[in-house]
Amino acid sequence: MPYVPTRYFCLIVALVTIAIAFASRLATNDYFFFAGYVVLQYVVMATAWNILGGYTGYVNFGTAGFFAIGAYSAVVMHKLFEPPLIASIVVGGFMAGLVGLGMGYLTLRLRGVFFAIATLALAIVLQTLVTNWDFVGGARGVYIIRPETGPFGHPYIQYLFVLMLALSAVAICIARAIEHSKLGYGLATIRDDELAAEAAGVPTLRLKLIATVLSGALMGMAGAPLPYYVTYLDPSSGFNLAFAVNSIAMPLIGGTSSWLGPLIGAVLLATIQQIATVTISSALNLLIVGVIMVAFVTIAPNGILGLFERGVRARRRPAEKEAA
């Protein structure tokens, strides 16, 4: 595939995003927007997870924590000022990024499974704090009355859908820009071998912090519209483990080596889940994720992208032999 410079790539993404936004106007049923919102939310989450998990090699199990920081930042903002949602998204992203920085600083000397456990613990600590914080509803949860219509007069759910679509585009552009940059090289060296990375002059700690902040901030931004989507938010749904499991499973199933993997994984898995929720039962969701993940770990450990690359290489090899 020929290399497309990042600015053209982002232009293409922007055009596709606008095209999808307009095409969605054809949908006659609001359910399409409810389901589409969830799929797009997972595109952002999976892409964000992949910046730290895929590019840098640090498995974050605390995804739900960052997501909920975004959601609860929006709740706080709503209770204090009732600002436009975009302001809450920015604040949610900022808060989650800040927590990402703190987490990075405290835990990045841990590697592998120890890092994963520390991030999971972080999510639990945060959940406990929120559960005991009355201002945001505590364990009882909080109701958010969402406006009837968005700023352009469309139903609010359509506005949420378009916002999440735009966030997905931003996340994908960031991920893709990192991949083909000096930062991307640096993160890959951390994933491959941290000692060798330092010896080659890579400031590993600083790069890891950039990755945790970026990844955390994107997750927070994905979480900020949640209260307006569900209209009732309590800690056990905001910090739901399903967010963490899904955001890890999607990049793994799609492939962690590039921006395309999380996108494929998220669209595929989230769509299947949405269909299963309607046709079979909502309790089946995690079972589906589990089964698909087990299947991929055994059959295609490098995800769908990995399968595809293997196919391309296998087809190229006989040609190489003939040429030789």
Binding site: K182, Y185, G186, A188, T189, R191, D192, D193, L195, A196, A197, E198, A199, A200, G201, V202, P203, T204, L205, S257
Partner: protein
């Protein structure tokens, strides 16, 4: 001439185990120094303390007039101190050429007043790959390399950082006779270009023919330091290697 590398009273312990104690070492610019010692004598620990992979508890390390002790490893690399690892540590998700892009981007371009354009980096990477004889494999992944090619990649990555001092940690272990000569010739060429080299090695033939000076570590202490022919006759060294 003042020393390029100056290690003074360096000490390192792991829990109750004293790995290094009171190590003094001076290396002048342009010198070829061999560092030898039995297994577990602290050679690699010393290298790790000098390059920043480990922190020494006591003593100081000065390089090119700057104190290194508190600097992280990548800052030391940027000052001109490069190393290769005893067990090759390639970036396995990247091609051979991309492996060399890393020090070019992060070390050479991080130095004050230097900035290589992407085309200059490509040229520089090409040049180093040709020098070590890995040019043909530029677009291969490290897993496709043989043992000696892996060692060469390890050295090439250190060379791309344009170091003043290169520490080669057992770059020849497990190689055949002719392969050892290959690496030796490479290191001698580097030294002729003005790079100071510290070689850690078990293969005596290689280390004695290469080094102008030999330093011997035994059980975390330096027991000899001098011309190779004298050092190998030193009774303490003989005792450490062969026994009484």
């Amino acid at each position: 001439m003042s020393a390029l590398l100056q290690v003074e009273k360096l000490g390192k312990r792991f829990g109750g185990f004293v790995a290094l104690e009171g190590i003094d070492l001076e290396v002048t610019a342009g010198e070829r120094v061999g560092l030898i010692g039995p297994n577990g004598s602290g050679k690699s620990t010393l290298v790790n303390c000098i390059t920043g992979a480990l922190r020494n508890e006591s003593g100081t390390v000065h390089f090119d007039g700057k104190r290194l002790d508190r600097l992280p490893a990548h800052s030391r690399t940027r000052l001109g101190l490069a190393r290769s690892f005893q067990l090759p540590k390639p970036f396995h998700s990247m091609t051979v050429a991309e492996n060399l892009h890393v020090p070019a981007l992060y070390t050479v371009n991080a130095r004050h007043g230097q900035h290589l354009s992407p085309a200059q980096i490509d040229a520089r990477v090409d040049e180093v790959l040709t020098q070590v004889g890995l040019h043909e494999k530029a677009n291969r992944r490290p897993r496709d390399l043989t043992q000696i090619e892996m060692r060469k990649l390890e050295l090439a990555r250190a060379m791309t950082a344009e170091p003043k001092l290169l520490i080669a940690d057992e770059a020849m272990a497990g190689l055949s006779h002719s392969e050892v000569d290959d690496i030796l010739a490479l290191l001698l060429r580097l030294n002729a270009q003005g790079v100071t080299v510290i070689m850690i090695e078990h293969i005596m033939r290689a280390v004695t023919s290469f080094s102008q000076r030999l330093v011997v570590l035994v059980a975390g202490r330096k027991i000899a330091d001098g011309a190779p022919e004298e050092v190998v006759r030193n009774p303490e060294v003989v005792k450490a290697y062969i026994g009484e």
